[in-house]
Symmetry: none
Subunit: 214 residues, 4 copies
């Protein structure tokens, strides 16, 4: 009871936390992202996170309310970072670029980011379908915004005539995300192709597969 208050206090206080506290908090989040990317939601244990962060399980509770709280923050961060990255890449092309080129760049950025660049992003794809309802509702709210961004890119490429407008945009997006999210399960950097070649293939299938027939 008194604890609850203290914890709430810790949370509320977060913005003004000491630099040292912020650092530790970041280390724990990083550790949790790494473990989640490795094990997925259901198999992730606090002990392994603590080990990875160089602390004790009990210490995590100073920085986070609970396992759920910690994990949710990793997942939210994962979605946020992916979105941020993809948007930055698309923005860099400028609004003068062809809609399909913008979409292809987004696709490439998404795949690469979650395959080799960010534990947070991989934590998300490895946990989809394991996260309990309530938490998923909240994470999914942000995830849907990310999806809408993609949807807008697709819509634009359809409007411009580059993509076949008769294709169901939602299904198209989900099939592509599924293909991308599954890659961490099988792709090996030291295999027969590198990450960029993999991106090429995904983009090729998307582009030629969906483009407007003449």
């Amino acid at each position: 009871m008194a604890m609850k208050a203290l914890r709430a206090y810790a949370q509320a206080k977060r913005p003004q936390m000491s630099p040292r506290g912020e650092l530790k908090r970041k280390q724990i989040l990083d550790a949790a992202a790494k473990v989640l990317a490795r094990r997925g939601y259901a198999s992730t244990q606090l002990l392994e996170i603590a080990d990875e962060a160089g602390t004790q399980p009990g210490s995590l509770y100073y920085h986070f309310e609970s396992r759920e709280d910690l994990i949710e923050q990793v997942l939210q961060e994962g979605v946020r970072l992916s979105f941020e990255r993809v948007r930055a890449v698309v923005d860099a092309l400028g609004s003068g670029a062809a809609p399909l080129d913008r979409l292809k760049a987004a696709l490439r950025a998404h795949l690469k980011f979650q395959l080799v660049e960010s534990d947070y992003a991989r934590a998300v794809s490895r946990s989809i379908g394991q996260v309990p309802g309530e938490m998923w509702k909240r994470v999914n709210a942000r995830f849907r915004a990310y999806g809408r961004f993609f949807d807008d890119l697709i819509r634009a490429a359809m409007k411009s005539g580059e993509l076949d407008a008769r294709v169901d945009r939602g299904a198209l997006r989900m099939l592509t995300i599924g293909a991308a999210n599954y890659t961490p399960e099988w792709f090996r950097k030291d295999g027969s192709m590198n990450v960029d070649q993999l991106c090429d293939l995904l983009v090729r299938m998307f582009e030629r597969g969906v483009r407007t027939p003449h």
Copy 2:
């Protein structure tokens, strides 16, 4: 320890089991498949399986050695059934059919089977990446045979010139399987498209995306 041999007597006796015993065993496997398809490997609990099968958790041990044993049998069966179904569909076309048509039929069958037809198949796709090493080794042995079957179909379609032979077959297969396996996560039968339309889309992306450019 010395008891292990005794406990497993249900296993040893299986061949001569009574029809009633076989029936219950099947009901339990079905229940486990349903729960695995719903929760995935790590979150699947024996209590839920027992509930679904209309028994007590303790009773499961009359038919199976352990949680691991039960789950592994569901997964093995899931791979076996998928393979069986897909092969039957391809065989039905006859060897006179064009290689690409055979491949497209296989793709369609795989997606449909695991999306709406079989809890066992969905149990597999929902559990990939969560199954502990040793068990995965055994399940994967059968899974690879299934993958090889697809690979042969792809190779044939490349040889016939229908598909672009420069594309990496392994990556192609895994991207497609990823897209298909993710569908149970988002596809709703009552949504804007039906299962066959979804199959059409996946096949279209595969076909047009990979076919040989002229």
Copy 3:
């Protein structure tokens, strides 16, 4: 599975454990020794050990890996302590003492130690024949060293001519140990004889029974 290594962190850390942790660990070992001395291996339950130690069953796992681990440590300690005690008593006599006197002192010390002095020693004698194969192999390794010590004393007393060298040393030792180990089952301190008188009797049977006839 991969978790085993993590769970055992209490073990790995033992050397640097805090005094408070060491104390509790000792209390648990003492409690386990008491319960084992009372019930024997097979009937010993963690709940009873926890009760005796003033903890919860779950707490035992902070200090020990498993029931087996805890029990094995008690048994190893039991053998170690018996050996240590007996050797100390024999050493105190000095090497100038007659071999038979050294042997008699050892016998007396062994019986007394496990009858009234040490729960650990009694835990061993009460568990012989119940301990599962693998564990017994390890405990027995130390136990055999203890047996060899006795054997050496017997051999010396035979060489000196005090004992009849035609008697089978192994059988002699085991019969004597059997007689001694069974005493906790029936001896009552408040009975017709005290511990020292019991020791006298055992030593008398050994000495007169085995000594060289003239």
Copy 4:
């Protein structure tokens, strides 16, 4: 409830049971004796007994009320058979034989019987100290009668002056029984000595160790 009555009925009926029923009952008792001799009371499981008897665990309940009932009957039988055998051997010597010779014959018979001749007898020695209080009270009642028989033989040998009358008879008997009962734990028929030589050694220690000094 209705079961209780039926079971009681089965028990009450035992004397008039069909020959076939009696046979099965005997097979189960034999099997239980074998398992008890191997595992001791606490580790004995009904499944192993049923296996050994060539039946199912459930079937045991037609012949015996419970695990406790079955085991108790084995133990009672074990004491009864030992007593019977030892008494027969002593009686065969006739009352004209020297008291010490009668005692030595009894000792020899006891050791040999429970070491190599009877699973029932070994079931008893392997279970001593593991049997729960209530049951032990009942078994011990018969066991004490057996002990008294030995005690009478000892008393007679003391009266005749062959044994030292100052020795505590109870302790003497228990030490000897302990030595004998422990033998199944270590004695191997194919070892350096045979059963009769082992008997010789036990008798020698008893005789020379306790006889009246001149």
